[in-house]
């Protein structure tokens, strides 16, 4: 909390009720991208707005969501995970790439997979972000994803992408 006041941590909007002993509960934003298939050698996603009555996810299919909050820090590295109440329902959030670069700040794109059919609601508390002290000099993150606030699919397969980076 004190780090939000000093500006070392960005959580917008911020609510004290979402603070945990070692993390902050973030909400699911409205925009969801659904994989619809490969077209011309590229993954294609359809963008939908989550209805208030919820949206039922198919098991085993990957969806891209977004955090409702803008989350970032110029001082700490971040680890963003799902909430245990969601994990207990078989909902995977950020299953693999959970580490947030120090100096990035944006609405995070969430990788979401359900083990069983699962109803997603906009604005639901879906996970937690924790902040980790770093050791060593901080170099600014120059990557692409750290500025994106809409659910953003991978650019790995885009033409001209340098796989050595």
């Amino acid at each position: 909390m004190s780090q939000v006041e000093t500006g070392d941590i960005t959580l917008e909007p911020f609510s004290v009720s979402q603070v945990n002993p070692n993390s902050y509960n973030y909400r699911l934003g409205k925009c969801l991208k659904v994989f619809i298939g490969y077209v011309g050698g590229k993954s294609r996603f359809e963008e939908i707005s989550l209805p208030e009555e919820g949206y039922v996810m198919e098991p085993g299919r990957m969806y891209l969501g977004q955090t409702f909050e803008k989350i970032g820090s110029g001082t700490y590295s971040m680890s963003l995970i799902g909430r245990s109440s969601m994990g207990r329902l078989g909902l995977f959030v950020q299953l693999s790439a959970n580490l947030g670069h120090v100096t990035s700040s944006h609405q995070w794109t969430l990788e979401i997979v359900a083990a069983m059919p699962f109803r997603l609601y906009p604005g639901m508390i879906i996970g937690q972000v924790s902040f980790w002290q770093v050791e060593g000099d901080i170099a600014p993150y120059l990557g692409l994803y750290g500025r994106m606030s809409m659910p953003t699919e991978s650019v790995l397969m885009e033409k001209g992408y340098d796989f050595n980076r």
Partner: protein, 170 residues
């Protein structure tokens, strides 16, 4: 900062870490190995809805093991009760478990400081896999927190047996 195995031993002796039952031979370089308890929980709903209480059944794992199907999702428990009022536990699969295609927690690996109880494991089989009661399935590491400590007093405190989601309670 992450604790080493010998530091986990020391903090267990001085009471900063609670692990019951505890055996020194379960210590690794930076973790303590956890065993699978005897009970499994399976949801019986067609669609899981975080706004309501979802129906489930609980059953014992037979000695000869339980065969999980690929894509099956179950809640399980650790034999050990674990927790700390001073350090942050994080749960991981043992790599031998993960290499069989079995995930032991799907998303929430971080324990709140102040929680003490059995850990509910979120088992997800990506391949068919057989699980046995008492097998070493997970490991826990301990991390030094920064800032004032406000102890956990949430809805899962004192967990015994696999604890179904209480997301509908807010």
């Amino acid at each position: 900062m992450i604790l080493t195995g010998s530091e986990i031993q020391k903090r267990h002796t001085n009471g900063q870490i609670r692990i019951e039952p505890f055996s020194s031979d379960r210590l690794t370089t930076n973790t303590y190995d956890l065993a699978l308890g005897g009970k499994l929980l399976k949801y019986t709903e067609d669609v899981l809805d975080p706004k309501k209480e979802n129906a489930f059944k609980v059953f014992e794992i037979p000695e000869e093991g339980y065969q999980m199907k690929a894509g099956e999702f179950l809640l399980a428990e650790t034999v050990e009760k674990i927790g700390s009022n001073h350090l942050v536990p994080i749960i991981h699969a043992k790599s031998g478990t993960a290499r069989m295609g079995l995930f032991v927690h799907v998303t929430a690996d971080l324990f709140d400081i102040g929680y003490y109880g059995k850990s509910t494991l979120q088992l997800y089989a990506t391949l068919p896999v057989r699980i046995y009661p008492g097998m070493l399935i997970a490991q826990v590491s301990f991390w030094v927190p920064k800032g004032e400590i406000d102890l956990y007093s949430g809805k899962y405190q004192g967990g015994e047996g696999p604890q179904a989601s209480k997301s509908h309670q807010g």
